[in-house]
Assembly symmetry: C2
Homo-oligomer: 436 residues x 2
């Protein structure tokens, strides 16, 4: 059962620091294996992909007609999805797209008082690889969340990879990909899929950036190819921080805590309340609901090992704790939540009021569900359109502007001992400087 | 001497691919040493910093009055800087600040057709650590380029670290820091400084993000603390790509190529021209200028090992090469450069016209000189204000909006097999769902 803390207890700071320092990630040492896989894919291309797929996914790529899903195979997946789910996916797609369209940056070009022209020009990454896990963690919602910001950014080519253990694929994943505008899908996973996206094979052209969640092999492979290609953040276990007062139904709050806990035994759910009795009621509701939860064992492990209930005298007192926890998901379910939002500094996403369970944001809210975990909301943001774009600076001087700025550039170059830097400017100001 | 390539030669594609694949970075294996240093600093704090500083920088922190530079010591540095350099630094500071102020993102809050409130809220990172190398690579311009975007973003605390070998510090670095609004400066460097910034010691409070260039130890330490704190890109050797026609003075272009080459033996300077004779003239000018260059040996090594001159039939033919090289710095010195800018996809910064040598951007142009190297302009941007901020998503539903969106969220949660997710919504729609 989750531990209860109170800011009134004398050892609260120590206990809170220990809560923050909890290591929830299990790091398996897969780096050597991953290095070998990447090297084999670079050397043998498609043949290595087929070998690894036979070995790890017990599946013969040749028999399925090759690495790539055909347009017909993707179309056929629609027949295996019920209308209600298809409608829900379509609603999610439309809402996610609309929200992310607002994130498109504007180019900026201007001339300053000296006549110098400056600018910032945004362009989309040319090609993106999207990793989608197989098996039970194969979530169509994550396909939408990763692919749509890329499509909105203007990425022309999104190449998706998904392992198909024993040849099985979740049709919802193919449907979500098609809805999001992905036209290239390969039945390959693991470090071998990451290697293929980074370096290319006969069938899979290389991309410039790789995104999407995966297991320890996938994460290690992404770390290893970083530099050759860009990667997204490597996500840790999910977490929610709920601030709720006694004007909430304890069952609702318990359900929210468990929605996070059911993701993973390493997930973390924390309740902060200003009412000890309400905390007790939520705790009891959690125990009750755990008994009827399909993924109850996972949720119980998470709640027992990492769950916490913190009692504060008021939510003002909680504010510095909120910023130190820097939660991936923050629910504010109390009177005055709206003005509290302005005072929170560190959170991946904030869900305001009792009628905004975090789960709405997982699927159909419109904002992205790929969010910074493990306190990284202190320095990073959720996935968005800017992650699929890059900015080029522009600078343009004429002779007059160079005369105005040049002497200062020369002075600084000389102060830094960079003679060729100084010459590159002075030679344009004083003909005859070529020989120094 | 740099190799000349021509797109007209039959083996051009192979030779160009080899040019792209050149490994310019020397990776020294310092990871184990760095791991030990970090662990010692976490354990012994300031005492470990003093020990390493004595060992690596031959310098007794205690004798200087402690790790932190005093306000008086920083003020005194101004007396050691001549007025011309101070004026140039001040001009650079003002121009960099003005340009970066235009990068401040806008918060977005809106209500959609269903009445759902959505938003994106930007906040500054609380505290940033800025690494500044000691010795000859101690560049005041880099202090401005790293610190000013943080100040513009609203970062309240910028903690700078700089090693002072034998107790010596470049006064320009202290002056630049003060001009940029940095008020905390510590005389410590190497992996031990990175560890102190990430984990904190008695004297140095921990930060949320660490930026700035450094040697192999610093880079390895940044990689290792990543996750605990954010880090910036780990920069590789500098590079320039110049596209120039015969209407240029070969000496000007040669000076630009050498300004890049003098940085580092691993730097790379490439000229693309549509006129073979002009290429020859530039090559001759490079040789001539090398003879009188203070850092001639470094520049010669870079030019001989990594320099290249590529002859194309016209600049249209060069466009795909430009995007594949994805240069940190791209100079366009030919008729029609302005419209060419719109067609370039991958470049860290573009310098337009013969009167905009890249060096202007290094110092006083106003745009940032911390730019993506080693082809990473395909997927990343130069340093800017957004690197010191993070975005929090906001979502707010009332009962009516939850009724509209909830059933779709439940459908998707069920399709993904996440029962507690489904319950967290359905329990709010259908009282009595608490027990599933």
């Amino acid at each position: 059962m989750a531990i209860t803390h109170s800011t009134a207890s004398t050892d609260f700071e120590d206990r809170f620091a220990a809560l923050l320092a909890m290591k929830r990630e299990t790091s398996s040492d897969v780096d050597q294996a991953v290095a070998e896989i990447i090297s084999a894919v670079r050397k043998d291309g498609d043949r290595a992909l087929a070998d690894y797929t036979r070995r790890f996914d017990h599946f013969d790529v040749g028999k399925a007609g090759g690495l790539a899903f055909t347009a017909q195979q993707i179309e056929d997946a629609f027949q295996r999805v019920d209308q209600k789910t298809l409608d829900a996916l379509t609603l999610a797609r439309d809402r996610i797209r609309s929200h992310h369209e607002r994130q498109l940056p504007k180019n900026d070009r201007y001339t300053d008082a000296l006549g110098v022209e400056l600018g910032s020009r945004w362009t989309a990454v040319e090609a993106v690889g999207l990793y989608v896990p197989g098996g039970t963690a194969s979530y169509p919602s994550s396909v939408l969340m990763n692919a749509l910001p890329a499509a909105v950014a203007g990425v022309e080519r999104i190449a998706m990879v998904v392992p198909t253990p024993d040849g099985k694929v979740n049709p919802l994943v193919l449907v979500a990909a098609k809805l999001a505008g992905v036209r290239e899908i390969y039945r390959v996973g693991g470090a071998q899929a990451v290697a293929a996206l980074a370096y290319g094979t006969e069938t899979i052209s290389p991309v410039a950036k790789i995104v999407g969640p995966g297991n320890a092999y996938v994460a290690a492979a992404k770390r290893r190819v970083f530099g050759t290609v860009g990667i997204d953040m490597i996500a840790g276990p999910s977490e929610v921080l709920v601030l709720a007062d006694a004007n909430n139904n304890p069952d609702w709050i318990a359900a929210d805590l468990l929605a996070q806990a059911e993701h993973d035994e390493a997930a973390q759910s924390i309740l902060v309340t200003n009412d000890e009795a309400f905390g007790d009621a939520v705790r009891a509701a959690v125990e009750r609901q755990l008994q009827t939860l399909p993924r109850g064992e996972i949720a119980r492990a998470s709640w027992n090992d990492f769950g916490a209930i913190i009692t504060v005298s008021d939510f003002d007192e909680a504010l510095p704790l909120v910023d130190r926890i820097a939660a991936e998901h923050l629910e504010l379910a109390f009177e005055g939540a709206e003005s509290y939002v302005e005072r929170v500094r560190n959170a991946g996403a904030i869900f305001i009021g009792s009628y905004t369970p975090e789960v709405i944001g997982d699927y159909v809210g419109g904002s992205n569900h790929v969010l910074p975990t493990a306190r990284s909301a202190r320095f990073s943001s959720g996935l968005g359109v800017l992650d699929y774009m890059k900015r080029t600076s522009l600078l343009k001087c004429g002779p007059e502007q160079l005369r105005a700025l040049g002497p200062s550039a020369v002075a600084l170059a000389e102060a830094e001992g960079l003679g060729a830097h100084a010459r590159s400017v002075s030679i344009r100001l004083n003909p005859g400087d070529a020989d120094g």
